[in-house]
């Protein structure tokens, strides 16, 4: 592994990381700004008190007590949106790792150079994993600085940690996208499959949280959104095993992708 592909990918895509990070960071900063008005937070808490638990789950919270603290309110409002937006980036990143260039034929030129397919995929993977980390970091940094700036009466560390906890889920989506584009070869088929995976996970998380029983629990367990961890960080019940599980799943998907990519024909 020479690092040339890694460095080149970072050089090409760093602006994309900056724009995504700034966009999501400004969204977070805006929510922090709203949260600095305690009347709004209280109003939400009162509203959620009147909602049935299932509807509350659909809105991203398992109980109205989350809204009793400012950090709880911020995390509930912000993290599920961030997780979804970053999943969109992760799909784009996953396609950029190999599928886009394979479809356009650029990969023929790249893989005729002295670099193995596995090394190429690994360097690309690492580059986009770093870029996704950069986005999450900027997304956490802007709200944190805003919170300090407006003197938010909240545990800012919890807010920052909850945003950062989105990262393992992004890696899972990147890995799933690479795996599916390796399997399907056609970019459009991969986009369809990975969109179904992300939307399916999101729906499974909501539906699973809205009820109890074997099927809802299973749905919730299968969704990577369930392991993002925002609420549990606020409640102090965060277990890192969920995040570690996501990292392991991402790693496994990468190894499988590399194996398949190494064995199959390049090009459509």
């Amino acid at each position: 592994m020479s690092g040339v592909i890694l460095g080149n990918t970072l050089r090409i895509a760093w602006k994309q990381m900056l724009y995504w990070g700034l966009g999501l960071g400004i969204l977070g900063a805006y929510i922090i700004f709203i949260a600095s008005n305690s009347d709004i937070v209280q109003g939400y808490a009162d509203l959620f008190d009147s909602l049935p638990p299932a509807l509350m789950n659909v809105l991203g919270a398992s109980g109205s007590e989350l809204f009793r603290t400012t950090e709880g309110w911020v995390v509930t409002i912000l993290v599920s949106e961030l997780a979804l937006f970053i999943s969109v980036y992760a799909v784009m990143a996953g396609l950029a790792i190999s599928a886009n260039e394979e479809q356009s034929g650029i990969l023929d030129v790249v893989l005729s150079l002295p670099i193995s397919r596995r090394a190429f995929l690994l360097e690309r993977w690492l580059a986009y994993a770093l870029l996704a980390f950069g986005i999450v970091l900027i997304s956490a940094l802007l709200p944190t600085l805003t919170a300090i700036g407006v003197g938010l009466d909240a545990d800012i560390g919890i807010i920052a940690a909850s945003i950062m906890a989105v990262y393992p889920g992004a890696l899972v989506v990147i890995a799933a996208t690479v795996l599916l584009s390796t399997l399907f070869r056609r970019r459009i088929a991969a986009i369809g499959a990975v969109s179904a995976f992300v939307i399916g996970s999101y729906m499974a998380s909501i539906l699973g949280g809205a009820a109890s029983g074997f099927l809802p629990d299973l749905l919730e367990a299968l969704s990577y959104f369930s392991y993002v961890g925002g609420e549990s960080i606020v409640s102090g019940e965060y277990e890192p095993t969920g995040a570690l599980g996501l990292l392991a799943a991402a790693g496994l998907a990468f190894v499988l992708s590399a194996h398949l990519f190494d064995r199959r024909d390049i090009g459509t």
Binding site: S2, V4, I5, N8, I12, S104, G105, I106, D108, V109, V110, L111, S112, L113, P114, I115, S116, R263, R264, D265, I266, G267
Partner: protein, 310 residues
């Protein structure tokens, strides 16, 4: 001989799909390309030229058979092989938003030894009159092709694999390309180029392989390939082609594809001239022109299935 071959392909087959929908792209192809030669690989679209090249580059995997380059397995030792080859794909796609210079720098970085490679790339770009400061998206198809040639040749590879290299190049640049190829051969390097431009193959190649439907029909030197038995004969009469002459020519066993148009007659002659000369002597012949078959004629003869008889 095969042991020293730069490219050694043995019984290579590539079948896409399976069952009733399978497509045989290459059928037990066996071929050797020797060091220091320019080998032309001829065939129409879909003949399997690009498939062969993609197997050699390890972009696709053969269904059976083997291919070695420099004695190394094209699949198992692809990275070591790629260090010593330059490749120009038939359909060149590059990063649209990057300049030619950036693309060159990137490819040179992956190859290692950026300074010397970039220096050579600049020299090649100057010879091909390529402006490397322009972004890929702003380059014409011909200029993209030039950039592809620069990328393929800038590290002085021992083997060049070029898929339709002059497609889209203007005649002057094609001339420069021919010069570059001849210089390459003079340095003892090897070129494997696919083409359907027969005049180009005739001008620069030492040997030619003719591929049809994934099957290698012939491998011959360009000289041997053009040394065939038929000629095109053009006869210009003072008046319209006399009816008895036309009838006589049509009746000759050695004459085929006879075509009369006013005072001009054209025919394919396979055999001695004497019967033809005696027949046309019945008219007043102003001009007689004998044309050697072009490689295109030979090419067509092979494609129509009569290659060996031509």
């Amino acid at each position: 001989m095969a042991a020293s071959a730069v490219i050694d392909i043995k019984g290579l087959s590539k079948i896409y799909g399976s069952g009733g929908k399978s497509l045989v792209a290459l059928d037990k192809l066996t071929l050797q390309v020797e060091p220091g030669e320019i080998f032309g690989y001829l065939g129409p679209n879909g003949a399997g030229k690009t498939t062969t090249i993609r197997v050699l580059l390890d972009l696709i995997r053969p269904s059976s058979g083997s291919a070695t380059i420099f004695g190394m397995d094209a699949r198992q030792q692809s990275v070591a092989i790629h260090q010593r080859i330059g490749f120009l794909p038939g359909e060149l796609n590059l990063w649209q938003g990057r300049s030619g210079a950036q693309v060159i720098h990137y490819v040179a970085s992956v190859r290692g030894g950026v300074k010397s490679i970039v220096k050579q790339a600049e020299e090649l770009a100057a010879r091909l009159k390529l402006d490397t400061s322009k972004k890929v998206r702003d380059l014409s198809s011909g200029n993209k092709r030039k950039l592809g040639l620069v990328i393929a040749m800038m590290h002085s590879p021992d083997l060049l694999i070029l898929d339709e290299p002059t497609s889209g190049l203007d005649p002057l640049v094609q001339q420069t390309f021919h010069e570059l190829m001849n210089e390459y051969r003079d340095k003892g390097k090897t070129v494997f180029l696919s083409s359907h431009v027969l005049s180009e193959v005739q001008a620069i190649c030492d040997r030619v392989g003719i591929l049809r439907d994934g099957d290698l029909k012939a491998v011959q030197s360009v000289d041997a390939l053009t040394n065939v038995k038929f000629r095109w004969v053009h006869v210009q009469f003072r008046d319209d082609v006399p009816a008895e002459v036309a009838q006589g020519l049509r009746g000759l066993a050695a004459v085929s594809e006879f075509n009369a148009d006013g005072c001009h007659a054209r025919m394919r002659l396979q055999g001695d001239f004497d019967p033809l000369l005696r027949t046309i002597a019945a008219g007043y012949v102003e001009q007689l022109h004998v044309e050697e078959p072009t490689l295109e004629d030979i090419f067509l003869a092979y494609y129509s299935g009569g290659g060996e008889d031509a």
